[in-house]
């Protein structure tokens, strides 16, 4: 039994079916990687886990996604509480055009924290957990857009962990970064999984193999196979997975 249980999840954009009867469990404090070719539904699946897909017009969902024992698609589900619990890191680093300080405390303020001292405590802790505190402690007033790409992505992760989510969804978080920055962010993920459950979508199979504990392979809106990462990459059960990971396809 996982922290996230997905049962028979189907997802439609208008009349187009993007996900077909997805069922899987995601385990607590582990990194689960989702791989597959472009358009296979892995990003749609990721975004359906905190209902960011609600922002798109004309979507329809059937099936259940149970997080901490509650179906997030039940009528009247509390979306704000859900997104506080299930946060997201995006493909491109996307800090607000505000100061470093205002970026990190954005979520805290949104959730009603006003006390200056507590905001600062959490700011320090969040920046420390992404190893930005030493670099930025004298530049908290600087506009976040002046930081490097890697710093921006770390800042976005700090902004997220400040609200203390349980689950962190990562949508190709390294695709806009260079190799060194990618390695650093991957190290960071390994640290973060002690406190958070991480689900990461990646185009990069080596990255999935390096960082994840479990790997799921999506193809044409279907979950072909999911299992322990070393098993998927050494002895896949489904021939379609084997074609993909050996590079015969995709």
């Amino acid at each position: 039994m996982g922290i996230i249980e997905v049962r028979d999840l189907c997802f439609y954009y208008g009349s187009f079916q993007a996900l077909d009867r997805i069922g899987l469990d995601i385990e607590k404090n582990r990194i689960t990687a989702l791989i597959g070719p472009s358009g296979c539904g892995k990003t749609t699946f990721l975004r359906s886990l905190n209902r960011m897909t609600d922002m798109i017009e004309n979507v329809r969902v059937t099936g259940r996604v149970i997080i901490d024992g509650e179906d997030i698609y039940r009528p009247g589900a509390d979306l704000l509480a859900l997104r506080k619990k299930v946060g997201m890191v995006f493909q491109r680093p996307n800090p607000f055009p505000l100061s470093v300080y205002d970026n990190v405390v954005y979520g805290l303020r949104v959730h009603g924290l006003r006390d200056k001292r507590r905001l600062e405590e959490k700011l320090v802790r969040s920046l420390e957990s992404v190893h930005l505190w030493e670099e930025l402690k004298d530049r908290l007033d600087a506009n976040a857009l002046t930081l490097s790409g890697e710093q921006q992505q770390r800042l976005c992760i700090a902004r997220l962990v400040a609200v203390e989510p349980e689950i962190v969804l990562m949508d190709e978080p390294c695709s806009a970064l260079d190799l060194a920055a990618t390695a650093n962010i991957e190290d960071l993920m390994a640290e973060l999984k002690k406190r958070y459950t991480i689900v990461i979508v990646t185009h990069n199979m080596q990255q999935a193999a390096r960082v994840s504990d479990f790997t799921g392979y999506f193809l044409l809106g279907e979950l072909v196979e999911i299992g322990a990462t070393h098993q998927i990459f050494t002895t896949p059960r489904d021939p379609r997975t084997e074609d993909y990971i050996t590079g015969r396809f995709g």
């Binding site: 960011m52 859900l82 997104r83 506080k84 995006f90 996307n94 954005y106 949104v110 959730h111």
Partner: protein, 278 residues
Amino acid sequence: MRVDPRVEQRVVGALLWSMTVVTVAVLVFIIAFVLKKGLPAVDWGFLVENPVDMGKGGGIFSTIIGTIVLTAGAILVATPLGVGTAIFLTEYTWEGPVTRIIRFGAECLAGIPSIIFGLFGFILFVTKLKFGWSILSGSLTLAFMILPTIIRTSEEAIKSVPPGFRTVSFSLGSTKWQMVTRVVLPSALPGIVTGIVLSVGRSIGETAAVIFTAGSALRIPASLFSSSRTMSVHFYILAREGISMTNAYGTAAVLIVAILGINILTYYLMHRFIRKYS
């Protein structure tokens, strides 16, 4: 007969150049003409004294006050309505037939001649609602006139805020309203302000819409229900009734300088706005 492309190029170049010269020349001529005729009448006393003898003597102080009060009233009413509508259209609804109808309606409103607004304001505010010729009637009429400008510029400004900011804000558990007030509006503010300043320019110069609704009293208005005269109405009456051409041109000069100032300010704001997002 085939014209040598090189000759054609020369001719077209000269033609376009002269068209531009004509455009600029007309503008410069109008401004220079009004300033030349008007500025001699303008001194400190002209700006701070009230009109005497229907405007034959004295200054234009009460009409400056009338213009400022009417414009401020119009902006105070139109800004929340316009920005609110823009927020609704961009953030609170999907694109569809309804938004298209609202937008089309606003565009039509922008195309209505101002004298029709004056007539509408006269019938609705002055007579039907019994506000009389007053600051209130005039401001409300002006507000409806500038509403389309404010809606459109605010919408453009809001749309130019990168969509990623909205996604992030939602993903951190914010409500739509928190997202709008903390991320979208601050980023869109320079664009919204540009639209408001543009509307101020339009209100200040407006004559037809206010002469029917705010009247033409020369006293400094005492309340929202007092009639008042704006600079452009003052100019119209002075010139039309042959009271004093000198003072009419003086008023026009003050008006033109004010509007030029506002346009320069708008240009500056827009420039800053564009720099911020490119």
